[in-house]
Amino acid sequence: MNRPWWVRPVAVTVALTALVVVFVTTSVVRDRTYAASAAETELLYVPSGEIVERMALSFDSLVADIYWIRVIQYYGGTKRSESVEKNYDLLGPLLDITTTLDPGFKAAYRFGAIFLTESYPNGPGRPDLAVALLEKGIDAMPDRWEYYMDIGFIYYWWLQDYETAGSWFERAAEVPGASWWLRSLAANTLAAGGSLESSRMLWQQVYDSADNNWIRTEAARRLTQLRALDDINQLIALAVRFNRQAGRPPRGWDELIQAGLLARLPLDPTGLPYVLDVENGAMNVSPESELYPLPGESLPPLSQ
């Protein structure tokens, strides 16, 4: 007896569907049962950019893009992970490979420098690697004044070396086509480096000259951090007044409110309450705040 023509296709479809269900289910159960190997994701198969470049033949620009996506995933994944000990060890090598494969990859230098300088736990806190990356960018594209400015910026913001920062801003100003405000920035840095006002000017210039949304957002976050530092300075002044009146530092915000010095719980610009350490009187944003950690970290405690 001949079977109808549709029996075989239907049987194959059913069998295939069943097999797909089996392997997908197995995969789901396995992933839920066994944790992914950390070593697998933390591995740099080929550590040398030069070797990867050789292996990429004429597709080095595309391979650089793949490494760039890996940089974003690695940095973002590590930053967002709930791990107690965040490890950013591969960030520098990944950025090095990306820029070796595609020396003209402008975003990799600027973004990469931001990622590398971010202090722990938001980044590895390696301004030295960021400076090296930007210097590599200058070697590849000496006419990009932004890289000189970014190096000056790292010395200013992260290393608090205002003299070196000012000299890098001056070098940036000397590059043909550089923005006009770099000279005044250099002068301002050398004269009043470290003040909140000069920091505000610096970030405002970065914000105004940003060539992409990510850097603009980052500059806006820094400007907001400076607003938080302004707030904290005012709170410190109030706490000093309380200390004079009560003969001791405040034990919490409620005491400042009861004393009539504060109208309500002080909130940072993101809407989270500021933290007052009753042990030493130090004030800061909450560790849960998007603004944490603040630049230069802890302000002088009240008791000092």
Partner: protein
């Protein structure tokens, strides 16, 4: 000439019918998929990545067509023994070789052209949806006409690879032809090392031998201007013309050698 044209048209139709259409669909799906995914992953570098991906995919897909179709142009006719019926017709051997080459190169030209249109459509769409403020940060417009230089040189390189595959196809098996063609393709990208051999060895004989190999082996690296156009660096018309001239001369030499070998093959 009429015979060559007829063979070319036949090979072109066969290639389009069999392989190239699947290839184009895959390319379109890849680009569309990439457009959505990459926007989420690259921190604002999506236009660069789409350009890199589009140009590289054009080259990779074309390379596979050039090699895998190119190696079968002659050797499969021999394996299937259809070469006997072909040669029994009023077709001269050189006409067969040149016609088959021209047909596959025509198929590659259509392939590259359609991929270029798809790439420009995707980039044009990206240009439409992005804000003016964001577009002001681009070094070059998304649908940058300069990419045509890169696409054209990709095509010339593919024409050269096809000639290499066809050359090997005239005297060896398809699998061996594929290995040899891919090997030459890889060697072609490391060629510049041979030119600077004196910096790693002391022997003058080795240096001269390396220098000779540098000039004799195909140098494929100059055909790659993809990164330059993506970064908005200028690629001069003179450079493109010179590189095309080099490619054309090399192709002519390979075809001459292929015709010479094929003419002497005994199919008894």
């Amino acid at each position: 000439m009429a015979v060559i044209t007829r063979i070319a048209v036949h090979v072109f139709k066969e290639s389009i019918r069999d392989k190239v259409l699947y290839n184009l669909v895959l390319f379109a799906v890849l680009l569309m998929g990439a457009l959505y995914l990459i926007g989420q992953l690259t921190a604002g570098q999506d236009v660069k990545v789409i350009k890199d991906l589009g140009l590289a995919a054009t080259q990779i897909f074309g390379l596979f067509i050039a090699v895998f179709v190119g190696i079968g142009l002659v050797s499969k006719e021999v394996e299937r023994r259809s070469i006997y019926s072909l040669l029994s017709k009023p077709i001269r051997r050189h006409e067969l070789i040149l016609g088959k080459y021209a047909g596959l190169v025509l198929a590659l030209a259509v392939n590259v052209a359609v991929m270029a249109v798809a790439l420009y459509l995707v980039l044009g769409y990206m240009s439409l949806i992005e804000s003016e403020e964001f577009k002001a940060t681009w070094v070059r417009p998304a649908a940058d006409p300069a990419m045509l230089f890169a696409l054209f040189l990709v095509f010339v390189q593919l024409a050269l690879v096809t000639a290499i595959a066809l050359f090997f196809s005239t005297f060896s098996s398809p699998s061996l032809s594929a290995v040899l063609t891919f090997s030459l393709y890889v060697v072609g990208h490391f060629n510049a090392d041979l030119r600077n051999f004196e910096s790693v060895v002391d022997s003058s004989v080795a240096v001269y031998l390396a220098r000779a190999l540098y000039y004799v082996l195909p140098n494929l690296a100059p055909f790659d201007v993809k990164a330059a156009v993506v970064h908005g660096e200028p690629v001069s018309l003179g450079y493109v013309a010179m590189t095309t001239w080099y490619g054309a001369a090399y192709v002519a030499a390979l075809l001459l050698a292929a015709v010479f070998i094929f003419a002497r093959r005994d199919f008894k």
